[in-house]
Amino acid sequence: MTWRRRPLSGRELGIVFALLVLVAVTTAVNPAFLGAQGLHDLFLNASILTLLAVGQTLLVITRNIDLSVGSTMGLTAFLSGQIYVADHDTPVIAVLVAGIAMGAVCGAVNGALVAAAKVPALVVTLGTLYVFRGLDYGWASLTGTRQVNADQMSGQFLAFGSGSVLGVPRLTLIAIVVLVAVNYVLRTMRSGRELYAIGSNPHAARLAGIPAGKRILAVFVVSGALVGLAGVLHAAYFGTINASVGSGEELAVVAAVVVGGVAIFGGSGTAMGAALGALLLTTITGALPILGVPALWQRAVDGAALLLSISLDRAVMARLASRLRRERNARHG
């Protein structure tokens, strides 16, 4: 397999290539796109989606999915706001811990239903999509705090969301650290490799002694924790929170994962790919208005770009597969 030897696999190189072309064209139209501020914004915008996509990748590799990401993120973002309403001077780290813990709990609920009761993840998480969102709204109307504004949050927290370290946005740094960690686990650790086994052939994995249920539960918890982190970062970045934060985000996340070359039927794909997918989709959305695509066309072009990228990916993979077959035949023939 190529990914072991090279830092980027074939399909990841494809995304990088698409990204480069897009950035080059957009920069040709408007040089500001690649300016310091432009790059800063680009990475900042992609950071939260990247966190979500990396978490989702873990699940998709094991033939699972989490459609409740948007609702979980909404819930944890709202939690951050509520914490600041209760105590304006809460240290940032406490909010982060609380958000991650809440995300992990949401993930554990999903994971328990999927792993223990053995029910399909798509259905369960479509259910919890509604349940978590309902809790979010219910919380808002119960407390009467429908919205938390920037002036109610601590300045430290807001600065955390928009701040930079050595010119790199802090949110991006966090996303990169998470990405590197997950990539390491998936590539080299035994438990990470087992996730691929579970996704490729659950039955065989179980026969081989892999504790599939335990692994799947763990993956849901980890992915939930990442979503929780993303929710807190969303609150810090945007500075305005209500109960509808993250609505519809599930589709963007799944799109990023798929564009990133993670097989929707499990067993293959990398966190790096998903992160690149998130970066590509964010870049497309950001580039369209700069390329002069009329406002009313942007949604359509966005959808078309997604279809194009998965179709191209399929075409490239098909060619690659036939070349491999040929080479193998040549070797054995």
Binding site: N30, N45, S162, G239, N242, A243, S244, T285, G286, A295
Partner: protein
């Protein structure tokens, strides 16, 4: 591949069937020119009795555009306060997705619950009209507020401010802040947002007057009332129009997102931002100098006025005819204008010196 072949065959077959159907249907038929338009609702016709006592125990329901929108909640709280002050009962019900179809479900349910008045902020002026006409036919008073429905479907529209005035104020504010010349852009809500489209129309009219000949509106962007999308659209505006002098965001979500972006970017203080926002949401950004001045009306007063209008209609004190006078408690009186429109008043503008007097 056989699969592609079968798809193509299926497409060709359907195409064939449909084309022949179109040919059969021909050109003759019902077009928009021949279709009869739907008449006004036929509610029980009564004449107004300004001195009639306010009926007691009326059931008044407020249907906002979206139940979880904080701005709408403030409006409805004002309305419910007004209604309970008159010793009636008031409640707020509505969709969580800002869609007209869910509003119709709610309106029909309210009719079924035999409410005395329905106060609604229409997500789609046409889509809610049939349900509202049905309510009126059953003797229920119908008031629209914030965002109007088709005029023949309601009796009174309580408008937060004269729409032309809302457009004019925002252009005046941006003009002051950019010194009367330069390129500006508008950051709106969704492309279908009725209020925003009306205001943008009036802004364009205002910009066409010689007074603002130095200002050029270069783009209208849509942030879909979503933080992230509004954020990205703001970034794109700033990047793609390097000499942009100002942004007008006639939506509370849009202006807050744009302000948040500006406040942490090098454009802060260089690009002016104004529009419609709530003081609570904007306080931070006025204090840190990102935003100089913006406008809005008091949302709770809007609800208050709508609540009074609903009670007066249900009690027969007004019928919605032009010239009738509505007594609205602490707000004094309002005269009903053309097409049953009642205007709350001119929008308030907020800046660093006044913003702390307001909490909504």
């Amino acid at each position: 591949m056989t699969n592609t072949g079968s798809t193509r065959r299926a497409v060709l077959t359907t195409a064939g069937i449909a084309v022949s159907a179109v040919l059969l249907a021909g050109c003759a038929g019902t077009t928009k020119h021949s279709a009869s338009s739907d008449g006004a609702a036929s509610g029980p016709v009564t004449s107004a009795n300004p001195n009639a006592p306010t009926k007691q125990g009326l059931k008044i329901s407020f249907v906002p555009k979206e139940i979880d929108n904080p701005y709408e909640n403030t409006v409805d709280r004002g309305g419910i306060d007004a209604v309970t002050g008159l010793r009636e009962t008031g409640k707020e019900v509505g969709p969580s997705d800002a869609s007209a179809s869910s509003q119709v479900s709610y309106i029909t349910t309210l009719v079924q619950q035999r409410q005395d008045a329905i106060v609604v902020a229409a997500n789609d002026p046409n889509a809610v009209a049939p349900a509202l006409k049905d309510a009126r036919a059953k003797g229920i008073a119908v008031v629209t507020y914030d965002s109007d429905a088709a005029p023949e479907a309601r009796q009174v529209f309580v408008n937060q401010a004269d729409s032309q005035e809302v457009g004019r104020t925002q252009i005046r504010l941006i003009s002051e802040q950019i010194g009367g010349t330069g390129k500006i852009a508008i950051l709106s809500a969704t492309p279908n947002a009725t209020n925003q489209n009306t205001w943008i129309g009036f802004m364009k009219d205002e910009l066409a007057t010689p007074r603002y000949k130095g200002i050029e509106l270069v783009r209208v962007a849509y942030g879909d009332d979503d933080d992230q999308k509004s954020f990205q659209q703001t970034q794109a505006l700033l990047q793609s129009i390097p000499d942009l002098k100002g942004i007008v965001a006639p939506t509370t979500v849009g202006i807050a997102a744009a302000a948040r972006y500006l406040s942490s970017s090098p454009y802060k203080g260089r690009v002016a931002l104004t529009g419609l926002g709530t003081p609570d949401q904007m306080r931070q950004f006025v204090k840190d100098g990102t935003v100089v001045r913006f406008a809005l009306w008091d949302p709770s007063q809007l609800g208050y006025l709508a609540g009074y209008a609903a009670c007066a209609l249900a009690s027969g004190q007004i019928t919605g005819k032009q010239g009738e006078v509505l007594k609205a408690g602490k707000l004094g009186t309002r005269t009903i204008g053309n097409h049953g429109e009642i205007i709350l008043g001119p929008p308030t503008t907020f800046d660093a010196s006044t913003i702390d007097n307001y909490h909504f």
